[in-house]
């Protein structure tokens, strides 16, 4: 099996996860495609650094994450992206948490989707990425820690903070309240 074939078999199946992570981190379709492509190229170039038997998914998603953060830093150089302090995002948080008043005939599912999307988008990137990796990719704490380059304890505390924040935002958006469309039937 040539290196190209091994790459195709081990890395390319995770392209969906890669693009999803990039799209959620960068919040822009074109930028996410660029970052995914760049990450795939880098992964191919450094494919030899993936150890025999090592799971390619966290390894590849770690590269994707790095490419995204580089792109984010380029986009908004003044923000301390990787910092744990997400006060910079607070204003965005409240702006985004209120769901847009759509036309009456809009389906409830679409409202829920846009509310959850808005809440997730409003999280600081460091919190958003752990949620995306945990909830969409079902990765365990160890894998997420490897991708984000932080200790496992940090992953757990970030996930907990992210959930607390999401809860605030979703409550603000009307979830979990009497008469809300979802959650408590």
């Amino acid at each position: 099996m040539s290196e190209g074939q091994r790459f195709e078999a081990q890395v390319l199946p995770h392209l969906d996860a890669a693009h999803n992570l990039a799209r959620w981190l960068l919040r822009d379709a074109r930028a996410a495609e660029d970052a995914t492509q760049e990450a795939a190229l880098r992964a191919f170039r450094y494919f030899a650094s993936l150890r025999e038997g090592e799971d390619a998914k966290p390894w590849f998603l770690g590269i994707v994450r790095n490419c995204c953060y580089t792109a984010l830093a380029r986009q908004q150089g003044r923000l301390e992206i990787t910092g744990l302090d997400d006060s910079d995002w607070d204003h965005a948080t409240h702006a985004a948490a209120t769901p847009e008043p759509g036309p009456a005939q809009r389906l409830a599912a679409q409202r829920e989707r846009s509310a959850v999307d808005a809440a997730l988008r409003a999280l600081a990137p460091a919190l958003r990425e752990v949620v995306v990796l945990r909830e969409f990719e079902d990765l365990d704490y160890r894998a997420i820690a490897q991708i984000a380059g932080v200790p496992i304890g940090t992953v757990m505390s970030r996930l907990s903070r992210a959930r607390t924040r999401l809860k605030e935002l979703l409550t603000l958006a009307g979830f979990g309240q009497p008469g809300a469309t979802d959650l408590k039937p």
Binding site: D16, Q37, L41, F44, E112, G176
Partner: protein, 252 residues
Amino acid sequence: MNDDDISRLVRAHASRYPADERLRAAVRTQTALQSAARKPARTRPSLVAWLAGLGASLSRVPRLQRVSPAGRLGGLFGGVAAGLVLGVALTLGVQSWRAGPATLGDELVAGHVRALQVGPLFEVASSDHHTVRPWFQGRLDYAPPVFDKLPGYTLLGGRVESLRGTPTAVLAYQVKLHKIDVYVWPDARVAAPELLHRRGFNIVHWSDGAMQCWAVSDAEGGELARLAAAWQAAQALQNAPPVVPATSIPSS
């Protein structure tokens, strides 16, 4: 709401963004280009070496059979013949090497630069393939594929350029501020995408089994690879037979 509710809400309602086919194709093309760049093609030199080896072994054969004057005469002829074979092989080999991608790449870059300097970059200016494609009728003995909806790439128009004495279709595209010339001519050879560099210009070559396509530009190789991928995706879409009649698409 507890953590499990949050988790369930996110899993149930948040948008997911899988990689689409175009992105997948672009990644495949780029990795193919990378591995091609890693292993420079050696087919032609090794063919020459093989022919040279054949020539050498031919010239050795008669020497082993030095039995009679007739045999010696045969040996002489054999040697001369081997020398001829070797000479012809070397000449052909060198010619095919020089006529290979190297010189063609130079010619394409020269054409591209000439079009940029003195023009015209396009003789038919249109971003609509329904205008550009018919324009080639009567100017060429083939109908080049024209794609005007390659995401990120604007079709500027087309022109006919004489390439090695043969009228050849050239499509001009623009990505950001870079002009891209795509040379298209019919040739059934199938080739994996390859990336070449000539005097600071990037050239990407690909083929679909019917046409040879060469994109020349000062845009970076990745942009050209993406163009190649988008082109191939559009081509595949065009070649695919329609499956679902438009009327049966649910209106929701």
